[in-house]
């Protein structure tokens, strides 16, 4: 069934149900993924899925219903289902669907070509797998490499005249070597994304192997308060756990301690946090949000000062400001929530060596685990399982493991002493791509032996 047929069936059904104001949000995804184990293809998967969500407005309420079954009956049933749901809502603060005639800035994407052939993905994965084994004698069984791509298409149509679509896609290579020395095993997962033909399989595998090998013979970290340097990757991990504190929706519901802190200093002067839907190296760029509002680049924190929270249309109306075009749907079936796009902490000028130069005794954290439980965005508290390397007399030392780093996110923002220039861009999650360089932080507690 094509989009026009689908639109027609749903529009007819909406008219029959007496619904004048509605929106269709259609999402189509294609994906390929291949996993190499030892020297063979262990698993190959291919996905072609689609779903549509119908929202309608009645009074001040919006109701949702969605389906993945594209039969005439199921599509025609959506309006009545959504209307029934709308009538039960009590928050009653919905507005008419968007139509404001925005100008939409075009996106320049890295990879918009169709998925590559399965043999191309297999070839690249195999090349990385071979390179991993060749890089070090201690690389052993358990080592896997996967390679694949995703392509997504979003189409938004509403009864107020909005009708447009966006697509994005990228290929990804993940090298997961296992290093073994005696009884001890370590891993070193490393990924890269972009256009398949531009992924440097050998180099990615080499980086992954050096990560795995560098973790062998890790010692137990000692306890105490000490300076901590988080790798750019782990700064992204922390940011992802506390992302909701920047949401105006969370703030308005009393679930973010940044509520009412706009234009106050909430972070150290070296902290600038930017939301950029068009960031050049991001594989996901969007010119409109899930409500059809034109996106734009803005600082959320500038030199330590909170400039704005992230808004969708509903929270903006409540706060009496304009939407920041951060209306988002994690999946097509979800209600509109709030997400940033490429959301990054601005890097500094210094090299890594300069950043750690003055640290007499500290720790460089390169892995954090279990943040879904160990970090609480409502309180800001965290106590997280960590791995990394010691820092002694301004130099990187040996590997350490099995310790926790504990503190509070709002204190951490104030205690960031600086960033180096090694910028890292994380793996996309929906439309969100986080970024940060290595960061030096004071005032955290390390618990080890």
């Amino acid at each position: 069934m094509n989009q026009n047929e689908m639109k027609q069936i749903i529009s007819d059904a909406a008219a029959k149900a007496g619904i004048n104001e509605y929106e269709l949000y259609f999402e189509e995804a294609q994906g390929t993924d291949v996993t190499i184990f030892e020297r063979e293809v262990k698993e190959f998967s291919s996905e072609e899925v689609a779903g549509v969500c119908f929202r309608c407005l009645t009074g001040n309420n919006i109701g949702y219903a969605s389906t993945e079954l594209f039969t005439e009956d199921e599509l025609a049933a959506l309006p009545a289902r959504a209307l029934e749901n709308a009538k039960l809502i009590e928050s009653g603060d919905a507005q008419p669907f968007y139509k404001a005639g925005d100008t939409y800035r075009p996106v320049v994407l890295q990879s918009r070509s169709p998925l590559a052939s399965s043999s191309d993905y297999i070839h690249t994965a195999m090349e990385a797998q071979e390179a991993a084994y060749a890089a070090d004698d201690r690389i052993t069984t358990g080592t896997e490499t996967s390679c694949g791509g995703v392509r997504k298409k979003i189409w938004l149509f509403n009864s107020n005249g909005l009708d447009f679509s966006a697509d994005y896609g990228y290929d990804v290579l993940v090298s997961g070597p296992v290093a073994r020395d005696g009884e001890e095993s370590t891993d070193g997962m490393t990924f890269a994304y972009g256009k398949l033909s531009e992924l440097d399989a050998k180099n990615i595998a080499k980086t992954a192997v050096s990560r795995a090998v560098s973790k062998l013979h890790a010692k137990q970290q000692t306890s105490g308060q000490m300076p901590v340097v988080f790798s750019g990757e782990q700064m992204c991990t922390i940011l992802s756990a506390f992302l909701s504190v920047f949401s105006a929706d969370a703030a308005q519901k009393g679930l973010s301690l940044l509520s009412g802190k706009e234009n106050e200093t909430i972070a150290s002067p070296c902290v600038t946090l930017i939301d950029d839907p068009f960031y050049k190296d991001s594989p996901v760029q969007m010119s409109f949000d899930a409500e059809g509002v034109a996106t734009f680049t803005k600082p959320v924190i500038e030199n330590g000062v909170l400039k704005t929270l992230l808004h969708n249309r509903k929270t903006a109306q409540k706060a009496g400001v304009a939407s920041t075009a951060n209306g988002a749907k994690h999946s097509y079936a979800d209600a509109v929530s709030i997400s940033p796009y490429c959301f990054y902490l601005q890097p500094g000028d210094a090299s890594f060596d300069t950043l750690i130069d003055g640290i007499e005794s500290g720790v460089y954290i390169t892995a954090l685990k279990g943040l879904h439980a160990g970090a609480n965005a409502i309180t800001g508290d965290f106590s997280i399982d960590s791995e990394g390397f010691t820092i002694e007399n301004g130099k990187l030392g040996g590997a350490v493991r099995s310790f926790t780093v504990a503190g509070n996110f709002f204190d951490l923002l104030k205690n960031i002493r600086g960033f180096d220039n090694a910028f890292y861009l994380d793996y996309p999650s929906g439309v969100t791509v986080l970024g940060s360089a290595d960061a030096l932080v004071d005032g955290l507690t390390i618990a080890g032996k």
């Binding site: 594209f70 749901n85 279990g370 439980a373």
Partner: protein, 459 residues
């Protein structure tokens, strides 16, 4: 969901390039959700997930593809994608699908889809109101009722054709307690493989009260001090320690490729002799229970560890081939777009020989972990972690003041040996477990246990 003739045709197409096994998994899942925040109904959503996953094996190679296009041409195209990806070869099998029903040991009295949505809203309101009623310092309550009607059909080239209908209901309440500049949270989220009769057994009021009381207790608590301690971990969600420290590492997903610290250890002592642990998907109406797994193998009660000795892994068909072992009824997937792999169902440590009061009395200076949050593990290294959401100091054998912000980290191999006392109040609790085949409902459980030494993360 799909006609037998079409299933047979699609299986043949999938095998046309020389696969030695093919399987079709079809799913139709209706989810309904009612959410309240700030004492008002904010969201009522319903969604229909519908799709098919087709898999083939050739030796140890596996190819799978998924689609939401359930027309004949859509299914055959999906099967063809699978065959093409496998490569060159010829089909040499004949397929005769025989329908087999394995029975349903999880009776449902009030099917949620048959209840008025207003009835569900009233249940959520009862929980939300009860939480707010715990005092002025409760500043926010978010309460959600989720019901899922998950119908699956499995057909494979061995001739199996079977289906199951899994109805699950869960309420989740999160309460926030506040004082100036500070928030603390409490949560409670029971669920079962049953209908709305769940709330006759567990009144929504009690769920709201429990979440609010936890938030209030934590608001007055000091930060837990970091260090290595003796810890008593309470029953119910305390079982997350076994789930992370050992359960994941006994899944064939990592064992089969030698990426688990417990690979090759069958018959060896891997835990303290007081530890007997079980994965049991056959408990009537339990959250993690299944009649059949997502490959159509009947669920079972599998003893994983008996008196400290490793007895069994959890095994799916594909990894079973690699290991030369039979499937154990543990193959699970979130839905059609995920390839299944070995996963837990209801996994718990059995009651042991120690009296609960003796466990607390035995600790001079330690931590009593009453409520736990989730955790995670790296099966390769065994490094695991989980959060303590409600903890208390134990001093001279007595439970004293509450502490916040603690987490526990360790290595599975070491910590299993350190479980040196096992009490007698076995209870389970519900979680959503995330891994390569998606997010699935699982129960964790245990009686009160003592871990003689573990790293406590705190301030």
């Amino acid at each position: 969901m799909i006609q037998r003739e079409l299933l047979t045709e699609a299986l043949h197409t999938a095998m046309s390039s020389g696969a030695d096994f093919a399987e079709i998994y079809a799913e139709r899942t209706k989810t309904n959700q009612v959410s309240m925040i700030d004492r008002r109904v904010e969201q009522v959503t319903d969604a229909l997930l519908s799709g098919v996953g087709i898999r083939v094996f050739k030796g140890l190679r596996c190819v799978n593809a998924s689609t939401t296009d359930l027309t004949r041409s859509g299914l055959i195209a999906c099967a063809k994608r699978v065959a093409d990806a496998l490569g060159e070869g010829k089909e040499e099998v004949s397929i005769h699908l025989n329908e087999r029903r394995f029975g349903d040991i999880h009776p449902i009295r009030i099917v949620p889809a048959t209840a008025l949505k207003q009835v569900k809203i009233d249940l959520v309101k009862e929980a939300s109101d009860a939480a707010f009623a715990q005092g002025d310092r409760i500043s926010q309550v978010a309460a959600t009722l989720l019901d899922v009607d998950h119908e699956i059909l499995i057909a494979n080239s061995d001739g199996l054709l079977t289906s199951d209908r899994q109805i699950r209901t869960r309420m989740a309440v999160q309460a926030v307690a506040s004082k100036p500049g500070e928030n603390q949270t409490g949560s409670c989220s029971p669920g079962r493989r049953m209908g709305l009769e769940l709330f006759e057994m567990i009144p929504p009021r009690s769920i709201g009260e429990k979440a609010a009381c936890q938030a209030l207790t934590m608001l007055d608590a000091e930060y837990c001090k970091a260090g290595t301690k003796t810890v008593a971990i309470e029953n119910g969600f305390g079982g997350v320690i076994f789930h992370e420290a050992c359960g994941h590492s006994l899944e064939a997903t990592s064992v089969a490729i030698n990426a688990s610290q417990f690979a090759g250890k069958l018959g060896q002592q891997i835990a303290n002799e007081k530890v007997t642990a079980v994965d049991d998907g056959t408990i009537p109406n339990a959250w993690g229970s299944i009649n059949i797994d997502d490959e159509g193998t009947p669920s079972a009660r599998n003893v994983l560890i008996e008196n400290g000795i490793l007895k069994s892994y959890m095994i799916d068909k594909l990894n079973g081939r690699r290991m030369g072992m039979a499937p154990t009824g543990n193959s699970r997937r979130q839905g059609y777009s995920f390839a299944p792999t070995s996963r837990m169902t209801n996994t718990f440590i059995e009651n042991g020989p120690d009296k609960n009061e003796d466990i607390i009395a035995s600790i001079e200076d330690g931590l009593y972990a009453k409520q736990m949050g989730g955790g995670s593990v790296n099966p390769l290294t065994g490094a695991f972690n989980f959060a303590v959401t409600e903890g208390y100091i134990i001093r001279n054998g007595k439970i004293c003041e509450p502490v916040r912000g603690a987490s526990l980290v360790g290595n599975g191999k070491e910590i299993l040996m350190n479980i040196d006392m096992v009490g007698q109040n076995l209870e389970t609790a519900q979680g959503m477990c995330g891994s390569s085949s998606g997010s699935i409902p699982t129960d964790v459980g245990q009686p009160l246990i003592r871990v003689s030494s573990i790293t406590v993360g705190g301030r």
